[in-house]
């Protein structure tokens, strides 16, 4: 079972956790990516997320399907937000549930790592000094 979406409104973590509920679930792994105030030493005031929406939606769906195909009984709900986000707001929420903890935790990690490789989404940091810069992970040392 999987649900995936690119959304513009704040992501409701509890609603995503509700989606994967099932009597057979013994372990739920959740990953939340949030906007933080400091990146490579610069003060950040917010972040724009932009997507190539139809392709981002289909890549996200494909990744969730792959995660489920690799782990029988896995239940997955993933949403990625686009638009302008403030510090502390969630850009992505991944919920993976399974009878056992290993597959649940492995799936959540697989989905975030693969999402960062394959889903056409970009982010532009707003710095407190007014500058706005598109993030290029191929030039960065660290990433959230």
């Amino acid at each position: 079972m999987q649900h995936t979406a690119i959304v513009t409104a704040p992501i409701d973590v509890a609603a995503l956790m509700h989606r994967i509920e099932d009597d057979g679930v013994g372990a739920i792994s959740v990953f939340v990516g949030t906007v933080r105030e400091l990146n490579e030493g610069r003060a950040v005031s917010g972040m724009d997320y932009e997507a190539y929406e139809p392709m981002a939606a289909s890549e996200l769906r494909a990744i969730a399907e792959e995660a489920c195909a690799q782990r029988a009984g896995l239940r997955v709900a993933v949403e990625h937000r686009v638009g302008t986000l403030a510090i502390r707001e969630a850009s992505v929420v991944i919920v993976a549930a399974h009878a056992h903890r290993g597959p649940a935790m492995d799936a959540a990690r697989y989905i975030i790592e693969t999402l960062k490789q394959r889903v056409p989404i970009w982010k532009r940091e707003h710095y407190r000094d007014g500058e706005r810069v598109w993030i290029d992970p191929t030039r960065r040392v660290d990433a959230a």
Binding site: Y49, Y52, P54, V92, I121, W122, K123, P137
Partner: protein, 80 residues
């Protein structure tokens, strides 16, 4: 003739548009589209081998394109 190319984020900023018409001779591959884009204002933003998608699926620059394909030249992705 020319083919429409979708642009996003830093590439849209560099070319000054979210969609541009790129002059190429058909039939051709994506590589010829990318080479033609380098000659346009903003073309220096493109890396040696940019990410490309046709009809919303990742492909390589060696892929042949057809009239009516949805072509996107894509900056390094940074989701999450």
């Amino acid at each position: 003739m020319s083919v429409p190319v979708l642009l996003f984020a830093s590439y849209a900023d560099a070319f000054g548009a979210r969609r541009i018409d790129v002059p190429v001779c058909m039939p051709c591959t994506l590589n010829e589209v990318v080479q033609a884009m380098r000659t346009l204002p903003g073309g220096s933003v493109l890396p040696t081998v940019p990410l490309v998608a046709v009809n919303r699926a990742w492909v390589t620059v060696h892929t042949a394109i057809n009239v009516g394909d949805e072509i996107a030249v894509i900056p390094p992705v940074a989701g999450g």
